[in-house]
């Protein structure tokens, strides 16, 4: 049986592009024919759901009933991968909740694949988040994501300072999301469709759209680079390993 995978996308700071990264992940797994579901924790109305309405459910990750909805169904859901877009400011508390319910322990035992995509902001406060988060994540696959998508002068940190935080997390890997042409980004936002649909010139219901070929080209090139980063960290290999134990028991 295939081990279910949970990917937490979050940051303790708003406006750093969590949902954008979550969208690229959903597209990436879709391209690899990996059944995926997503939870958007921006209640009551989630941005991620706007782009992937069929795959996404809006939940309140701090409520027990919604935690059950997510984690008790890991073994029974058709989806192999669960992507959780964590609302700004909730990453640390969500990780703490996962510790409390024993989820992180299951991940440590290898019964669940667990990965954290920690989206970094431009300020030094973001670096301090790394240290705080590192304390909780333990054995999770930890990815520090530098998101340049809408800001070219994003990272002006002192490399030595950054590295001192980065090294605090054992096995952490760095992912860089490159800048996307502003007009292309805006048009995808307006279209409210997955990146792959925009590239394929499709609307929300699969109908033909009339997107600019130039903007589609920019998005295709950009998404190719993002997926190149996911390939580099062997994301597909990460979610593919099999396990022998009964996953329902774990989820229960």
């Amino acid at each position: 049986m295939t081990r279910p995978a949970v990917i937490l996308v979050g940051a303790d700071k708003g406006g750093v592009g969590k949902t954008t990264v979550a969208r690229t992940l959903i597209d990436y797994f879709g391209a690899h024919q990996t059944p995926t579901r997503a939870f958007d924790t921006e209640t009551p109305r989630g941005t991620l759901k706007r782009f992937h309405p069929d795959l996404t459910e809006v939940v309140d990750v701090t409520s027990v009933s919604d935690q059950m909805k997510i984690f008790d169904t890991l073994g029974s859901a058709d989806a192999r991968v669960t992507v959780i877009d964590v609302r700004a400011g909730l990453l640390s508390s969500t990780l703490q909740a996962l510790t409390d319910i024993g989820f992180l322990e299951s991940a440590k035992k290898g019964q669940i694949t667990f990965a954290v995509f920690h989206i970094l902001g431009s300020s030094i406060a973001s670096l301090q988040e790394i240290a705080e988060t590192a304390r909780v994540v333990g054995e999770a696959n930890y990815f520090l994501v530098k998101n340049f998508i809408n800001n070219t002068t994003f990272f002006e940190w002192d490399p030595a300072t950054y590295n001192s935080y980065f090294k605090k997390i054992k096995g952490a890997e760095e992912i860089t999301i490159p800048k996307l042409n502003e007009m292309a980004y805006e048009q995808v936002e307006l279209a409210s469709v997955p990146f792959v649909s925009f590239i394929g010139n499709k609307g929300a219901k699969g109908e033909s759209a009339n997107n600019s070929f130039v903007l589609r080209g920019y998005v295709r090139h950009w998404l190719g680079n993002v997926w190149g980063e996911f390939d580099r960290v062997k994301l597909v290999d990460l979610i593919s390993p099999k396990i022998e134990s009964n996953i329902r028991q774990v989820a229960g």
Binding site: N181, M183, V214, L215
Partner: protein, 242 residues
């Protein structure tokens, strides 16, 4: 070019090598053949394609995204029109960088549009390197080196290897001395059958110009056939023929 929609890009990273004259000749050729032509001028200053062919030409730019959309979206639009680009040397690198990034040639091929680059060859290393990069980046185009004979003998032609299955060198013969002053003044058009009279040319000068034009148009007809052949090969190789 004659058999389905085509885009011809006249290019060189060097200034003053005859790009606009070549673009005017290519445009004149297609108009002479009775085709609908849309030309795009990526030049600044005097003596531009826009000044010679204002009815067919649109000023274009790749400096910002809006300009890129106006140009490339128009280029790949489904139209029964032959498109010609006069690529100023300053736009050379940005144009081809963007074209590569957005997959312009692949999209054109997908839409059954043949793309040809007419590259005016010169002995400098910048041009040799630029040509090599075009070969690497745009394998699905017909990359045709053009020898503008007014620039002197092409003893450096071996630095411009021909593309596999692509076009050979296109020769642009030097115009007889004294005729240049007629053709370099707008609104001279190579497609206008009465232009000799309009320009106040002597009969001899007009005849000489016609001979020169015939030689060049013959080169373009051969190029048309080579592009068709390359296009067919590409369609078979990549399985994207229509």
């Amino acid at each position: 070019m004659a058999f389905r929609s085509s885009i011809t890009i006249v290019a060189s990273p060097r200034p003053r090598v005859g790009k606009t004259l070549l673009a005017r000749l290519v445009t004149g050729f297609h108009l002479h053949e009775g085709r609908l032509v849309a030309a795009f001028d990526l030049n600044a200053g005097e003596g531009t394609l826009l000044q010679f062919l204002p009815e067919q030409t649109t000023s274009a730019s790749v400096r910002d995204t809006s300009g890129q959309m106006a140009l490339f979206d128009h280029l790949v639009a489904h139209e029964d029109t032959t498109k010609i680009i006069d690529l100023g040397h300053e736009s050379f690198e940005p144009f081809f960088s963007i074209a590569h990034k957005i997959g312009f040639v692949e999209e054109a091929c997908r839409r059954a549009i043949a793309v040809a680059i007419l590259f005016i060859i010169t002995p400098d290393q910048t041009s040799v390197e630029a040509y090599r990069r075009l070969r690497d980046r745009f394998a699905r185009t017909t990359l045709a080196p053009v020898h503008n004979e007014i620039l002197g003998p092409a003893q450096y032609r071996d630095r411009y290897p021909l593309t596999i299955g692509g076009a050979g060198i296109v020769h642009m013969p030097a115009l007889a001395p004294g005729l240049r002053r007629y053709i370099d003044r707008p609104p001279f058009s190579f497609a206008d059958p009465n232009l000799g009279e309009v320009s106040g040319m002597s009969v001899d000068a007009h005849s000489e110009l016609q001979r020169w034009l015939r030689r060049i148009f013959l080169e373009f007809r051969e190029l048309d056939l080579r592009i068709l052949l390359a296009d067919l090969r590409s369609a078979i190789q990549f399985g994207s023929g229509t």
